[in-house]
Subunit: 303 residues, 2 copies
């Protein structure tokens, strides 16, 4: 079944210990949709400016992604400039130009309203809730958020969370949202807010899924020990794309599918960081993905 | 086969968000030997003062640990006082009284010289090397160290590392010893210094084993998501005890044994932190250990 993602399509300027790029295609919805496109049909709803070229669109088009929901607005696309030091887990933001993104008010095209799987990438929770209302028949809703919204719009975010089945956030966000320094306790708290599954992404240490249902143990997926992380930008969104894309490709969501989805999420995150921007996804094959899935299994399984 | 550990037997004063103890039995060799004792015969070489009572010794004795190598010296035992805040990965040391430990010069009793497995717990690398020379027939040598020695005695530590087969250290120590911020790169560097296996302990995120042998993938073991870490003291030493103890209990060291040892290490670390000091080990059973091993498998395995 198909997955619809609503979020940012942007340009990024990125500096890491491995090099520098002035402006490459980026944005949460871009990474998500490219990663998910290896598993299922993907539809994107976003807004871009005049600087978004046919070639940029073709990056998604060549992966079969439906870009007809990308709105063109007068002005420039969302532009972010960030720098990573030796700690590749944290970007220092040097510049954020919201540009056309500032007035983004996502309207889901009629053709997309029946999409079974929905992912609310990290945008203003007010907009996430608006999308959720438009997509009231969605079978499964994944979501993301960030510290900025947790701090500045807690009520609006609480509203959004009521409509999210699976929330994917990182350690810092989980601690802040759950208000606890212990991750399992933060997870317990968050699982009372709406989501029935919480996936906490630990960067180079993998990810843990916590479940609301009583008696269900958490599940931990590894990450690949990567010698040179060229550019960590988009790793979390790529994880979400692999995770949701795999789930959408399966006939039903059971525990085994969710576990595999955690692995595929880690796999797609591990590819994302191998090159600047979304480049690694441009010529990636499903065979490479499955080989890395096997590697993740070898890395973590007994017998 | 038996394992011999050389290191500190001490008393600890510990404050954590869960409570406070003024003085409990602790020390790397104590945690190590208690954890290892569930798998194999354990011999301890250490020094203690007059304050080390028959009851303290009985904590080890009841677990079948051979304490005849614990030297009694005039004065007080090593005493450490530390405090943990919300970040349970890092202790703030409030007091370190080396006491009798200051003149510790480990002499391995004649009966112990043929012990097959040796663990050099975290002490001065000069002493570690001296022990290693005395135990020249040891079949397999595990070791630990810390930032203090990495900084203050790099040459002496380099000498020690030449005689260590498996080094077990944490993330910060690995980055410092390897001189690289990327853990896989730091691991590569460390694996040129002597050890053929490097186990990097990631605290609540588990641990990764890296191998010197070309073409061998790393192996990642999970840690248990624990709601309340009562006292993290000794978790790393307990990991090492479970790890080395399990290896010593097996007829040979192959990759499958090493993978299981990583799991047993995590299991013993997860028990250690459930209560203050070594308490959790006093009435622990092998059945509980094996049940938790199965839980670790469920937490991390597909299918």
């Amino acid at each position: 079944m198909a997955v619809l993602v609503v979020g940012s399509v942007a340009f990024d300027g990125i500096q890491t210990p491995s090099g520098k790029v002035e402006s490459v295609l980026g944005g949460a919805a871009t990474y998500f949709s490219l990663a998910a496109s290896f598993f299922t049909d993907v539809r994107v709803v976003a807004v871009v400016g005049d600087d978004f070229t046919a070639e940029d669109e073709a990056v998604m088009g060549r992966r079969g992604i439906d870009t007809s929901g990308i709105e063109r607005a007068k002005g420039k696309s969302f532009f972010w400039v960030g720098e990573y030091g030796d700690n590749l887990n944290e970007a220092k933001t040097l510049r954020t130009d919201l540009n056309v993104f500032e007035k983004f008010n996502p309207q889901i095209p009629k053709d997309f309203l029946k999409t079974e799987y929905l992912f609310l990438a990290n945008i203003d929770p007010v907009l996430q809730s608006s999308v959720r209302r438009q997509m009231k028949d969605a079978q499964l809703v994944g979501g993301d958020t960030m510290n900025y919204w947790i701090n500045s719009k807690p009520k609006e975010l609480a509203e959004t969370l009521k409509g999210v089945d699976i929330l994917l956030i990182n350690d810092t966000e989980a601690r802040m949202l759950g208000g606890k320094s212990s991750l399992p306790r933060a997870a317990q708290k968050i699982l009372t807010m709406g989501p029935r599954v919480l996936v906490i992404k630990h960067g180079e240490y993998g990810a843990t899924a916590f479940f609301r249902e009583a008696g269900l143990h958490p599940f931990r997926a590894p990450a690949l020990p990567i010698e040179e992380v060229v550019d960590p930008t988009g790793a979390g969104d790529s994880f979400a794309g692999g995770f949701m894309g795999y789930i959408a490709s399966q006939p039903e969501l059971n525990r085994e599918v969710l576990k595999r989805a955690m692995f595929y999420g880690g796999v797609m995150g591990s590819f994302a960081v191998e090159r600047f921007g979304t480049q690694r996804f441009h010529d990636l094959s499903r065979a490479e993905i499955d080989a890395r899935f096997q590697l993740f299994r070898e890395l973590s399984h007994l017998d």
